[in-house]
């Protein structure tokens, strides 16, 4: 019984220390930002519902910069030339409706800087009036595939700015498999690709003021809550940052997070599988140890 009392004292002081250096200290160090569910309450919903048929016509204004592969429209320029022209490669819009919030798209088309909460954008403002923008947004929604892969969501919303080197993702696409020349070890294809990535990064850094960080293990570096609230509104956590509010919907974000978690914390499924087995083993071990202890100490007092 005395042992249990002592254990109580030890556990108490341990937990107080833990509480102080972890939850408490972090609550003091980091501003807490409430998550609002990707509702974008500051943006106005269009007065009338958008008409996809009208949007389909109006989208012609957009394809001078954007491709829409699912509709057979190729991007007018390759990524590096596009970044030279606009600072960043305009994303292919096939999946826009599957990842972004419809109200956000409508607002973004009217004013990318206002919706994105940034000072400048490679995308021109005033491409359509409020109603025209709502039509285009409805059209993008209507062509969006029902189900997209987590990586596709990431590629559309974040992939033009952020690399993920642990998944071989670069801002201009997946690193191709290349073969070095056996005799000399020279891999020209790889060097050519690296040069393109390098050129793109230089343009991107000029556009944004800095190179956006690689997101390979951002889930471990920032944690779930920070990421969610940061993507919802980057200005809340990094005031004055050049990263735009991207305007993802709830479902879109879930996909993006799933991708980032799979790359950044790949052992999670394994942990969940192995953990219980190991714990069970030690519970069994403890039981046997207890029996041994009791048998050794039974006639001592």
């Amino acid at each position: 019984m005395k042992d249990l009392k002592i254990l109580g004292v030890v556990v108490f002081f341990t937990l107080v220390t833990y509480w102080g250096v972890e939850p408490y200290a972090h609550s003091v160090m980091h501003k807490h930002v409430e998550f609002e569910g990707f509702k974008y309450k500051d943006l106005k919903a269009p007065a009338k519902k958008g008409d996809p048929a009208k949007g389909k016509v109006a989208i012609a204004a957009c394809v001078s910069c954007h491709g829409i592969k699912s509709q057979g429209i190729k991007a007018p320029m390759d990524a590096v030339s596009a970044s030279a022209a606009y600072g960043v490669n305009p994303p292919d819009l096939s999946n826009a409706g599957a990842v972004l919030d419809e109200k956000f798209i409508a607002n973004f088309i009217v004013s990318p800087t206002h919706a994105g909460l940034v000072k400048k954008s490679g995308m021109p403002a005033g491409m359509a009036d409020a109603q025209g923008a709502a039509d285009i947004a409805a059209y993008l929604k209507s062509i969006a595939p029902k189900e997209i892969k987590p990586k596709e969501a990431f590629e559309f919303a974040c992939g033009r700015c952020h690399a993920v080197r642990y998944d071989k993702w670069t801002q201009i696409g997946q690193t191709p498999k290349t073969k070095a020349d056996i005799k000399t070890g020279v891999d020209l294809k790889k060097m050519e690709f690296d040069k393109k990535v390098g050129q793109y990064k230089l343009n991107l850094a000029k556009y944004l003021g800095k190179l956006p960080p690689d997101l390979s293990i951002i889930v471990r570096a920032r944690g779930e809550h920070y990421l969610k609230t940061f993507v919802e509104n980057p200005q809340n956590l990094l005031h004055g940052t050049a990263m735009p509010r991207v305007g993802v919907s709830n479902e879109g974000y879930e996909k993006i997070y799933k991708y980032l978690e799979k790359v950044g914390d790949p052992s999670k499924p394994k942990r969940e599988k192995v953990g219980p087995i190991v714990l069970l083993y030690f519970v069994g071990f403890a039981f046997l140890a207890y029996m041994w202890y009791k048998s050794q100490w039974k006639d001592l007092h």
């Binding site: 005395k2 042992d3 002592i6 254990l7 030890v10 002081f13 341990t14 107080v16 220390t17 833990y18 102080g20 250096v21 972890e22 408490y24 200290a25 003091v28 160090m29 080197r165 642990y166 960080p213 390979s216 293990i217 951002i218 471990r220 570096a221 920032r222 944690g223 790949p266 052992s267 394994k270 942990r271 192995v274 953990g275 190991v278 714990l279 030690f282 519970v283 071990f285 403890a286 140890a289 207890y290 041994w292 202890y293 048998s295 050794q296 100490w297 006639d299 001592l300 007092h301």
Partner: protein
């Protein structure tokens, strides 16, 4: 003259005993190494520390197979190769990281147990001093290990801590550069901390563990009442079969059975942390790669260094360093600053009782204040706590000198 029986079969018991004295060894180290019966689970902390060191060594060996001590590759070799590509690499890393953090919790419990029961006096001074040497070595081991992933916190904590060696106004920048092998932490820095972490410090620690165990053998461990036990007399009773009357038990198997049971409970908690709650041991900031151009908004050491770090912070540069140096070494002198002859639980020792509990609370307050940013009320609390720590040690000789003798046993 040693006697070697020519007919003894090689590697038979007799053959080994003649050459290695295995029987005597076994008696001295295990079956006739006497432990007082009157002890609680806190006396298992030493074995738990030994076991945790074993875990660190084993998991460290596995990590070492894939770790690359190169400033350009280190981060990815840990966070990509080990965490993602090597089968169960994540398990070894999480075991290593959690064990490195938990080992300090157990060390602090072990130290405070020693202080509480007065186990650093009456022949046990060297146990205490060798223990403190272990504490310092573990600190160096932990700090050098923290550099290896070459993340933001590795880099900046390395920068801040090595800066301390300029010794304030002495401005010994040459010394700092000598330690770093460069003006700022870089390849030379990583290389030498790698060497310290995987070779020199583990060697020193292993030697010190042997020394620590050696210092325990003659005075024996203390007990819950600080009672002075005649071990030979009590051992005789035990050997005569008076298991109830004897105040001692053999280490093996009787004490060991309790050690193993306590250890099994510890393993359950430890592996729970490894699988479900490892974040506390692996700072998120260190998952950003080292960036010499970007100072993190908050730089703090791991939790187990926070109390001494906080003693440094509230003072001006030079005074802070002196206070910090004081905090680092003062525990070594405990056996000589405690002027009372009493070996008894603190709660029976007059003013020392309050001294002990104030010390515990003060160190926890220092730890928490060491992590939160130094502003407003936190600076005040930190300053008060730092002064309290210093004053506690200043008054210790006086309050213990005044202490009345208490009987060791109830």
């Amino acid at each position: 003259m040693a006697h070697f029986d020519p007919n003894a079969k090689p590697f038979s018991h007799k053959w080994l005993d003649e050459r290695l004295a295995v029987d005597t060894l076994q008696k001295v180290l295990s079956t006739e190494y006497w432990i007082p019966k009157n002890i609680n689970f806190l006396w298992a902390m030493g074995m738990i520390l030994a076991a945790t060191f074993g875990i660190l060594l084993l998991s460290g060996i596995f990590l070492l197979m894939y770790y690359i001590p190169d400033t350009k590759l280190a981060f990815d070799s840990v966070n990509h190769t080990i965490m993602g590509e090597v089968g169960y690499g994540w398990l070894w890393r999480h075991m290593h990281g959690v064990a490195a953090s938990v080992v300090f919790l157990i060390i602090y419990i072990h130290m405070l147990t020693g202080i509480y029961y007065g186990s650093y006096k009456r022949g046990r001074e060297l146990i205490w001093i060798s223990g403190m040497l272990l504490f310092v070595s573990f600190s160096a081991e932990a700090f050098s290990g923290y550099m290896l992933p070459w993340g933001q916190m590795s880099y900046w904590a390395g920068m801040v801590i090595t800066n301390l060696f300029s010794l304030g106004s002495l401005n010994l920048n040459g010394l700092v550069e000598w330690i770093r092998g460069d003006y700022v932490p870089g390849q030379a820095f990583l290389g030498r901390f790698f060497m310290l972490h995987v070779l020199l410090m583990p060697l020193i620690i292993m030697a010190l563990i042997v020394l620590h165990f050696g210092t325990l053998r003659i005075p024996h461990v203390n007990n819950q009442d600080g009672e002075e036990i005649d071990f030979e007399e009590e051992a005789k009773k035990w050997k005569a079969g008076n298991r109830k009357e004897s105040k001692v038990i053999p280490f093996n198997p009787v004490f060991l059975s309790k050690d193993v049971f306590v250890m099994s409970i510890y393993f359950i908690i430890y592996f729970y942390l490894v699988f479900y709650h490892f974040e506390f041991a692996m700072d998120p900031v260190n998952f950003d790669p080292a960036d010499p151009l970007k100072t993190p908004p908050h730089i703090y050491p791991e939790w187990y260094f926070l109390w001494s770090y906080e003693i440094l912070r509230p003072f001006s540069k030079n005074a802070g360093l002196i206070a910090f140096g004081f905090a680092q070494v003062i525990f070594f002198f405990l056996p000589f600053l405690d002027r009372s002859a009493n070996v008894a639980p603190a709660n029976r020792r007059g003013l020392f009782k309050y001294w002990f509990w104030i010390l515990v609370v003060d160190m926890i307050v220092l730890t928490i204040m060491g992590k939160v940013p130094p502003m407003g009320i936190y600076t005040t609390i930190g300053t008060v706590a730092a002064w309290t720590f210093i004053l506690l040690w200043a008054v210790l000789p006086f309050i213990t000198k005044m202490e009345k003798p208490v009987r060791g046993s109830k």
